[in-house]
Symmetry: C2
Subunit: 109 residues, 2 copies
Amino acid sequence: MSNLDLTFQALADPTRRAMVERLAKGSCSVSELAQPFAMSLPAVYQHLQMLEASGLVASEKIGRVRTCRMEPAAMSLAETWINRRRTDWEARLDRLGAHLQRFPEGEPK
Amino acid sequence: MSNLDLTFQALADPTRRAMVERLAKGSCSVSELAQPFAMSLPAVYQHLQMLEASGLVASEKIGRVRTCRMEPAAMSLAETWINRRRTDWEARLDRLGAHLQRFPEGEPK
DNA sequence: TCCACACTTAAGCATTTGCCTAAGTATAAG
DNA sequence: CTTATACTTAGGCAAATGCTTAAGTGTGGA
């Protein structure tokens, strides 16, 4: 499974996106991360593991507290992939427009 | 299911991302879209339906040929969501940096 | 009219996801 | 030493995913 697979998969769940939103405001413990959600701690923990597997989040355990933080690099990879497709699409539209300007209703080549 | 759910879910699959990459280069029929993949046409068709459900792709049938095209608006929504988290995270780092400059090793408030 | 072509629908199946409860483990406070 | 805290692991289960093959439907060419 490529990293983009894991990253987009991680972002596809609303709970995990909310967790990323929380971590974008600042690092916190697993319990703090779980607090807003009406679900068991193991469920939150599993979401956290998917976020870590994707690279979107990293964490470190000190004593009995695991502190989680956002990892913007994985974020950028996903953002860049999307941006690239938009660029391709726009470049194609530009070429098409330029062509139509020279050959109105002409054959598409 | 929110639109972001469907969008990121759609982008989580490598086949669907490849389909988006193909469409970013220009519109094409379902068969053309299916051609690079070692899977049945119904399978490709199901992927296409997920891409349409997310809004990433739109299509129109003329005669017996369905032509698919990329829909950049849904793309932008996903890109914007990611970008926003990065912005939040960077703003937090900036505030932290400014604070540490005034209170080196000081209490975090 | 007949038939091939380009999808499209339906049904089935193995795997993955997203939760749960119960039962751990390790650290820190009393 | 005992207990509470903060995760962590394990097992189970219903629903969703990503395919498959088989059997349609509608269009257009011969």
